[in-house]
Amino acid sequence: MAAAMSYVHADVENLKATELRLGLPGVEESDKMPSPPSTPRAGTKRALAGEHREVEPKAAPPAAKAQVVGWPPVRSYRKSCFQQASSKTKEAAPAPVVVKQEEAAVAAAPPAAAAAGGSLYVKVSMDGAPYLRKIDLKMYKGYRELREALEAMFLGFSGDAGSVNPSDFAVTYEDKDGDLMLVGDVPFGMFMSTCKRMRIMKGSEARGLGSSKE
């Protein structure tokens, strides 16, 4: 039956979505196609009549089905908490900030910066600092910019300890497996996709000289 065929077809599509491919994690096809602010155009709506097929054109590459706005229905508040947790860098149903001339249909939940695919916030702690900071890794093109930003952000805390030498500190991060790694070993793109949080440690600790804190 045509109906049954289309169910099988749907399954095949899902298989394709989970197939293994070569390539570094985080260096996949582009995050998202610029999907329209709302869902499929009138042309594809015809596909809905009587046929239970996916609404996207079949020509779409397997793993990158055009994401539909607002589906699955999870509040962006909740989604934005798990950006890093998701193993893929693509962001579901972005709120695309497509600004038209008449500033009309800007389909955006207010935390557009966080929920849209355009940011990757991680927490940064520094030993001895009173509270954490959050930075958006996507703001930086590479390690040098990142390090400069961190220095600008955190050096103020150690100001009263006299002159601060940035090389006294080691920047580490916790990756997806929970391991503590030194920042700078892997390509920046890979770092972005595996970094869960960062920690700036005093140099002596980073060299592994005991676990006692100062």
Binding site: T18, A49, P72, F82
Partner: protein
């Protein structure tokens, strides 16, 4: 100038609602247009504004505190209708008001207000909580003119699909006209609860200025304010008991953050509840610790993810009587003394003998979970929905939670984790399983297996929200049979149009069984591959359904027709991406006045069809939004709602009111 004798002493009685009296037939002009029963004051249907169902605050209800002397203004205006005005019987009014004080449920009050003019007036003066389910359904002026003695206001703004980025930015639901009207009218206002509204800092600043007795502010899914506004509230509302910020949208530059916590009064405060887990910016922890220490009535505290385990411990030491705790990050940020040990943390929890509700775990280190074992047996509510726990991490915890009634988790706990829930939590009433990876083609870690297990173990289940990738009719049918008390059934099969994973059939039978067997069902969200048959079932059996959410479902307009003709209690209908057109829309013509709203996006509506509806229904506001200019006749988004206020004046350019 009041004409009444000194008011009788308020008798204490349970604030439960008494059965409404039989309406007395009246030849006089009706007080509201036919079919618009109490549009300004509807019964609170749907989900309660608070985040956890446990925490639903019933509010002031039957007026406590000082009695309100009857105010005789407002007869005739606000209610419409002419007819002769007869001088009121003052004694009768006093007696009536005393009696009506005991009515709290809005539905009962609405009924009472329709009996006759006397009752209308008496009810209008004694209504303490004003519930407005759609801020555009009535003008602030009209509401304020009718109700004289309001102490609490609940306002809801944007349609729920705004949560999923379907309502363009700038659509509306600004609180400013309301604040402007409430201020002068209700100087004794104590409580404001807003949901999905835009609130600016300046509007927040009006609260302490206008309401010297202000006690409770609750903002749910709101946006537009910053820590600057919070600072004004903290500083200005000297009698503040509740400040609950739940899932609001905070978008503040860290450099602009204001130290609002320090602004609370220096002396002992009357704070009972402080919830700010969504205010995800750094704050002054020492100030919070001091605040908690001088707030002896504090029972609910939910902090944001900038609070470490070490800091949490300090807070708990200051507030040993907490009943609801949001644990912050639940992760160690070791200070000079080193990282906290699990046993040290366990001591803190053991000392909190009153804890019944735990949430937070916003960045949890699962190694610390054993610290909460001691309180698990007392917990009635647990929210792990921000902690990506595996089944191995989750199961040992849940095994202790034998008295749980509400559980929110992530699907990372898997079917195995749900099985453990089923085996342990026989008293469970509400379950929500959220997806870690909310995309259509994600792996999905829970399935029909987990749902089946839950249905077998948690027979008293009343509310379920379940995100998954694989489902079968059999499991849904099993749930319908095992859990007949279900009030809320929301199943989200994330892949669109997905059929039964085993049989390949549509999910019609599963949802059909739900509406057939769960006779108390009031809220339903459907998903998966669905034909018109499913909607025939829903219309045929879903007689108590008030809220229905439909996405990527149905074959034809018959689906909508089934729903409109069958679901006689339907109040809120939201539809997206389904093959329904003008014909389906028109099949609802006779029912729209009984509903709060109807939302439809990305279907097959035309401007003409929507215009026909607008033309035939004068008290309906029909808003259409179009994304692209190309196809002039199609409608991308339709939002229609009954209203006494007529077309709103603050509609942005992308909204066309027909």
């Amino acid at each position: 100038a009041s004409l009444s004798p000194p008011p009788p002493r308020h008798m204490s009685a349970p604030p439960s609602s008494s059965p409404s009296p039989a309406p007395i037939p009246q030849p006089a002009a009706t007080l509201a247009p036919a079919g618009m029963r109490g549009a300004a004051a509807e019964d609170s249907s749907g989900s309660p504004p608070s985040r956890m169902s446990e925490d639903d605050d019933d509010g002031d209800g039957a007026g406590g505190g000082d009695r309100w002397a009857p105010d005789l203004r407002g007869c005739g205006n606000g209610g419409g209708g002419g007819g002769r005005w007869a001088p009121p019987d003052q004694v009768l009014e006093n007696v009536l008001e005393s009696v009506l004080e005991f009515l709290t449920a809005a539905r009962d009050r609405n009924a009472a207000s329709l009996v006759c003019r006397s009752w209308y007036r008496a009810e209008a003066q004694t209504r303490r909580e004003l519930f407005i389910g759609n801020c555009y359904a009535v003008s602030p002026r009209r509401a304020v003119e009718r109700f004289g003695g309001v102490r609490a206001v609940v306002l809801k703004g944007k349609p729920r699909f705004a949560d999923f980025s379907l309502v363009p930015h700038g659509w509306g639901a600004n609180v400013s006209p309301w604040v402007a009207a409430l201020g002068p009218a209700y100087p004794r206002l104590e409580r404001i609860c807003l949901k999905r509204m835009t609130v600016s800092d300046d509007e927040l600043a009006l609260i302490p200025k206008s309401f010297p007795l202000f006690k409770e502010l609750s903002l749910v899914c709101c946006d537009g304010f910053t820590t600057r506004g919070l600072a004004v509230i903290a500083e200005g509302c000297r009698h503040l008991r509740v400040l609950d910020l739940t899932e609001d949208y905070f978008h503040e530059e860290e450099s602009e953050v204001v130290d609002w916590i320090s602004k609370f009064p220096e002396c002992s405060t009357s704070l009972e509840s402080l919830v700010f887990d969504c205010v995800s910016v750094p704050f002054n922890f020492e100030a919070l610790e001091a605040l908690v220490a001088r707030s002896p009535a504090l029972r609910r505290l939910r902090v944001n993810d900038h609070v470490s385990i070490e800091q949490l411990r300090r807070l708990m030491a200051r507030a040993p009587h907490l009943t609801h705790l949001g644990t912050g990050s639940f992760r160690s940020e070791p200070g000079p003394g080193g990282a906290l040990s699990v046993s040290e943390l366990a001591t803190s929890f053991a000392a909190s003998r009153s804890l019944v509700c735990l949430s937070g775990f916003l960045d949890a280190n699962a190694a610390y979970l054993p610290a909460i074992y001691q309180v698990c047996a007392n917990l009635t509510s647990l929210n792990f929905s921000f902690a990506g726990l595996t089944d191995e991490e989750f199961i040992p915890v849940i095994r202790h939670c034998v008295n749980l009634r509400t559980l929110w988790v992530l699907d990372t706990v898997g079917d195995e984790g749900l099985r453990a829930v089923a085996e342990t939590c026989s008293n469970l009433r509400e379950l929500r399983v959220f997806p870690l990876d909310a995309t259509e083609d994600s792996e999905g870690s829970v399935s029909d297996i987990g749902l089946q297990a839950i249905s077998e173990g948690c027979r008293k289940l009343e509310s379920i929200l379940y995100f998954c990738q694989r489902m079968t009719n059999a499991a849904v049918i099993a749930m319908s049979e095992n859990c007949p008390d279900l009030l809320v059934f929301r199943l989200c099969i994330m892949g669109r149009h997905r059929p039964d994973r085993i049989t390949g059939a549509p999910m019609d039978e599963g949802f059909g069984a739900i509406v057939m067997n769960c006779k108390r069902l009031t809220r339903l969200s459907v998903s998966g591959l669905l034909t018109d048959k499913a909607f025939a079932y829903i219309g045929g059996h879903g007689k108590l359904i008030k809220t229905l959410s439909v996405a990527f479902a149905g074959n034809s307009d018959m689906s909508l027709q089934h729903v409109f003709e069958g679901c006689t209690r339907l109040q809120k209908l939201e539809v997206r991406d389904s093959p329904f057109g003008d014909k389906g829309l028109l099949s609802g013509l006779n029912y729209f006045y009984n509903m709060r709203f109807f939302w439809m996006n990305s279907c097959r509506l035309t401007v003409k069809g929507c215009g026909d509806v607008a033309q035939q229904m004068p008290n309906l506001v029909v808003e259409v939004m179009k994304e692209n200019e190309g196809e002039m006749d199609t409608v991308d988004k339709l939002y229609l709602y009954r209203s006494l206020a007529g077309p709103r004046e603050d509609a942005p350019s992308f909204v066309n009111i027909l």
